[in-house]
Symmetry: C2
Subunit: 392 residues, 2 copies
């Protein structure tokens, strides 16, 4: 077992109509001039943005708005947000949306609270010493950004996608109303469930210092998301299932499911980042398309964990050798992906890379991680290339 830090200061307000508390929460955390930051038009079309601005107006809280945060949110919009905040004297950012709006809001917050170029933090050049306080009204369960320390930003020049983590960026509050996620397309819901599970699975498949309590929580969370993902496939407006998935999304990436281990594997995420850089694919779908191949490539080097996963998460019977049990666990996970209409290979994802593209992704991936990555099995560029190609 490794030593660990655990810090989840975000105040979670969970349940129906909780967005009505937004003005009180902003005031509680000292906000007087707010940037409302959101993504595409869905929060406009649903009426949520209007509802929020009405509440702030009624509470006498001044605000400016900035939309346009896209999946893999862009650095240029972050710069625009920083300028806007400085010009308007903004002292609090409210992200209304999913991971894109929240990640973008975190980056704007770093940019306002620190001198110099905000990209420096994402480029591993220096550490932030603060962040403008921010709050969230969550409309999509997936990235866990509403309680996490991390954000991912894409620099358009060269399409460089980078993540930065700092406790300063953890949201002060997160308003989570499961009803707000009911209008998502089924495909996005399934992608979200996949991403949520992967945040815990990346931590679970580790060869370093695992903790029984953490494992028990992780396994319980994974079983719960699987069960409710299937319910949501058939009943997208099932409130309880939406709530189970939404809360699991936060707990899966706030650190809880990694306490005591070596930090986890994260190879599937890193492989997917390059895939997402080259093709316009949804993050969750990309993860599902790669995971099975990655798992088969590495499971012999992390056999006790894959066996435990098969037995305690996938409900595989304890019959046969450890390897057989592990493989049946991987197959069961792929069956689950298929059951919620997620791809289990690149072809099903709609992607068929050329030899050059394979090589390019593997090379970029290796470069991004300093040559090697992974805890279940340490992977080098040749391994990354092999996994990409075997994923077809």
């Amino acid at each position: 077992m490794f030593d660990f830090k655990y810090f989840t200061p975000t105040k979670v307000i969970f349940g129906k109509d909780t967005e009505k508390q937004v003005a009180d929460l902003i005031k509680e955390f000292g906000g007087t001039k707010v940037l409302i930051h959101y993504g595409g038009g869905s929060v406009v079309r649903s009426g949520l943005l209007k509802k929020v601005t009405d509440i702030l107006e009624e509470a006498g809280i001044n605000f400016v708005t900035l939309g346009g945060a896209v999946p893999n949110p862009h650095l240029s919009l972050v710069y625009e947000g920083i300028e806007l905040c400085k010009r308007e004297g903004v002292d609090f950012i409210l992200a209304v949306g999913g991971g894109s709006a929240i990640d973008s809001a975190k980056a704007i917050g770093y940019g306002v609270a620190n001198d110099g170029d905000v990209w420096d933090f994402y480029d591993y050049k220096r550490q932030a010493t603060g962040c403008l306080p921010l709050g969230v009204i969550l409309t999509m369960s997936a990235t866990g950004s509403e309680m996490s320390s991390s954000s991912v930003i894409t620099k358009e020049e060269g399409l460089v996608k980078r993540g930065y983590s700092s406790d300063f960026g953890r949201p002060k509050f997160a308003i989570m109303n499961p009803v707000l996620t009911m209008t998502l397309p089924d495909y996005q819901t399934a992608c979200g469930c996949t991403d949520i599970m992967m945040h815990t699975m990346e931590r679970y498949f580790s060869n370093g210092g695992n903790m029984e309590l953490t494992d028990a929580l992780a396994e319980g969370l994974l079983r719960t998301v699987m069960k409710n993902a299937v319910i949501l496939r058939d009943e997208p407006e099932n409130y309880d299932a939406r709530a189970e998935v939404m809360w699991a999304g936060s707990l899966s990436h706030n650190g809880l499911t990694g306490c005591g281990n070596d930090g986890g594997d994260w190879a599937t995420h890193k492989l997917e980042h390059e895939l997402g850089g080259l093709y316009d694919v949804a993050h969750g779908a990309g993860l599902a398309a790669l995971w099975g191949t990655w798992a088969r490539y590495v499971y012999k080097d992390c056999l006790p964990r894959f066996k435990k996963f098969a037995l305690n998460v996938m409900g595989v019977e304890a019959v046969g050798t450890d390897e057989e049990i592990a493989v049946r666990g991987i197959e069961a996970m792929e069956d689950f992906y298929r059951s919620i209409n997620m791809p289990t290979n690149l072809r099903e994802l709609g992607v068929d890379p050329t030899e050059e593209e394979y090589a390019d992704m593997a090379h970029k991936c290796a470069a991004g991680v300093g040559g090697k990555m992974g805890s279940a099995k340490v992977l080098y560029e040749e391994d990354m290339l092999a996994i990409y190609k075997q994923s077809l």
Copy 2:
């Protein structure tokens, strides 16, 4: 499923030698003049107090000390601490110890940050509007006070024991080094494990709005504590087992295992409070002595939960009627208590109340809860009396 709030801002620093970080953490949270508050002589004898004061001296942090926090910490000591803090200009409290020192530190913090009598908060007369920031070096896994909002104080006059909860009192940081719990007597370790499990069980046995994810986390936590409590019976210096129990103690009472339900039952805790007021018994042992009788008294009114508990926590086979499964789950928990040398009735606890004492406890318990209590089954004074008497 009910709406819920979840707020656990405490920064947890978990692992070996983590107490060495105490000066940096105090500075991080703005402390310049510290009250070090502790309990009996164990932190003196172990050398921990000396170690902490050496670290603060070296870091140039001024401090004063106040020992003497006893189990069911006394209001008179709280008053003394408040006076000391005001006189010395203390701006941060460091509790070194278990639940007694932490609870007492919280009460002192409320007293310094609010005008008037601090007992008003515990007497349900008004709400605190702040608390002096406090940090913890934990030496005992049991109450979960290191991450919780609650504290329990006893007013010596009339032996009135009252709890008060406020988010203002949540510690800013909690240093958790499992090694520091290794010198505890075996009986105290077993009492701690019982208390930890009961904090989750009180939330679990509820008839209102349970959430699958919360249940899965709760069940995993309970299984983990049971397994490691038995390991610690035989190997008190097993680091990993100490760590599992220590982290479970925090998660079991920080709110995580109650998200989405009606708040839980808490009857066993309230029954034990009166028992602990009349007899000098350890809190955990008192809980174990009462739980089985309470469970048999109420299980038919909360049968789905008792069945689920039997199957998912106690590993009972799914054979027979629901009632039979539920009863076998209760019996299995009593077997577990016996296996770690905890009592399962009042006689084993070493207590044999008179008729007057039974009546007095039931009457005080009923008065303390406004006449009725419980979610698994609503209990009135006559029920409380019956449970006490059947517990013999």
